[in-house]
């Protein structure tokens, strides 16, 4: 169940609040043009209560807390890949216990009314951390799990993960005579999470910031575990120009490679530009526009590899059809 009153983010008010509080400080060492930097800022903007931030190992974790510097002005905990959601559920359970025991009820320094946010990359969510997320969701802990998906293990040197798309070049799926990038497709992580019967799940592209902020807020407001799949461009691993980060995020939605939707109590609903594409299929762009901005797909544009683009397009079309059917179009 999600609160019915929809929060309308006002960019001017958000800017004033960030000017005062700055939960995420500049000076972190994410690459220039990193999409995750935008995502962590937007999560902090959408917060309605004080946050406790639990971070799985990943680019954000290593880049924001390089000794002796930290970018965080919110309580923040570092975890291994596999236990981020478990730590998040522990924080949430401890808060419930403390609130019930009234031990700190007359202590003005102790705030027990907070939201728990768990942030993981695609390695920590698709592959290594899947069991702890599954456990936390099964136990119905009230946490918001945000997956920032840059589609490979970027921090350790661009190894393929369960989130790497078909045909992408990584250091463990190189392009050669026999193997041409990753031969397999992305794991359907949203379907896996929705199958847990959680009250709220959504996909987010930070380029559509209004849509993204509303979804993060609804994730915080959800009555139980919430899962948000955020799309994060990685200029280093994808071989894209740093200034094209937001452009690629937009194109991913416009080509339906990464459609925007939310699942409230099992009910699918398209949001943002995906609605207009569903109503008006001419607006759907061919995947080439998305692929050509990224060096990791460069081999697909050779004439002998044309079949790869066709296969990619076919997969995107199929996923989109399934989603349209679920959303009732």
């Amino acid at each position: 169940m999600v609160a019915t009153a929809v929060w309308r983010p006002d960019i001017k008010e958000l800017a004033r609040v960030e000017g005062r509080e700055r939960p995420v400080e500049s000076g972190h060492r994410l690459c220039a043009g990193c999409g995750a930097g935008i995502i962590i800022r937007q999560i902090a903007m959408a917060a309605r209560k004080p946050l406790v931030w639990v971070n799985a190992t990943g680019c954000v974790e290593v880049a924001t807390t390089i000794f002796p510097y930290t970018s965080w002005n919110v309580p923040w905990a570092h975890n291994a890949f596999e236990n981020a959601a478990a730590v998040g559920s522990g924080v949430e359970a401890a808060r419930k216990k403390l609130a019930r025991s009234n031990r700190f009820s007359d202590d003005p320094d102790v705030e027990l009314d907070y939201d728990v946010i768990v942030l993981g990359g695609d390695g920590g969510t698709y592959d290594i951390g899947l069991q702890s997320i599954s456990g936390a969701f099964e136990r119905r802990h009230k946490i918001l799990y945000v997956l920032y998906d840059n589609e490979a293990y970027m921090n350790t040197g661009i190894q393929r993960s369960g989130g790497t798309p078909f045909g992408a070049r990584t250091t463990t799926t190189p392009v050669g005579k026999v193997i041409k990038g990753k031969p397999l497709f992305k794991k359907p992580i949203m379907d896996i999470m929705v199958a847990h019967g959680i009250p709220y799940a959504a996909t987010v592209s930070p380029a559509y910031w209004n849509d993204a902020l509303v979804k993060f807020r609804r994730g915080f407001e959800a009555d139980g575990p919430a899962f948000i799949h955020a799309f994060s461009t990685c200029p280093l691993g994808w071989g894209s120009a740093p200034e094209d980060t937001v452009k690629i995020m937009k194109l991913a939605v416009e080509t339906c490679v990464f459609p925007l939707y939310e699942v409230v109590d099992g009910e699918y609903r398209l949001t943002g530009p995906s609605v207009s594409i569903a109503k008006n299929p001419d607006r759907k762009k061919p995947v080439e526009e998305y692929l050509k901005l990224q060096g990791r797909f460069r081999h697909m544009f050779k004439p002998e590899n044309k079949w790869m683009i066709d296969k990619f397009q076919e997969w995107v079309d199929k996923q989109w059809e399934v989603l349209l059917k679920r959303a009732g179009y």
Binding site: I11, E18, G19, G27, H28, C34, I38, Y69, T70, P235
Partner: protein, 91 residues
């Protein structure tokens, strides 16, 4: 030979990093940094919204001001500016 073991009660509570990242000037990485043409700026705030490094300072009214000590020069703001008021200039 052996040093006495430190008990868990004697260890610090948590968190080792203690300096704010603000003190680390990532602006040194930049080759190009933004310069805003104030006459073209329509105060939409998209540069502020899309900056991965929270470099822009914006009060919601005037022209956003980039903090060049931390700007890594990615150029997202210049690409996304609807009126092309931002130009990336070599530092």
């Amino acid at each position: 030979m052996s040093t006495p073991m430190v008990g868990w009660k004697d260890l610090p509570m948590a968190a080792i990093p203690f300096l704010s990242a603000r003190e680390y000037p990532t602006g040194e990485w930049a080759v190009f940094q933004p310069k805003i043409d104030e006459s073209k700026c329509v105060r939409c705030g998209l540069c502020w919204m899309y900056c991965p490094d929270s470099v822009y300072r914006w009060d919601g009214e005037g022209v956003p001001v980039p903090d060049l000590d931390h700007c890594k020069g990615c150029g997202i703001c210049a690409t996304e500016c609807p009126t092309k008021a931002i130009e990336m200039v070599r530092v």
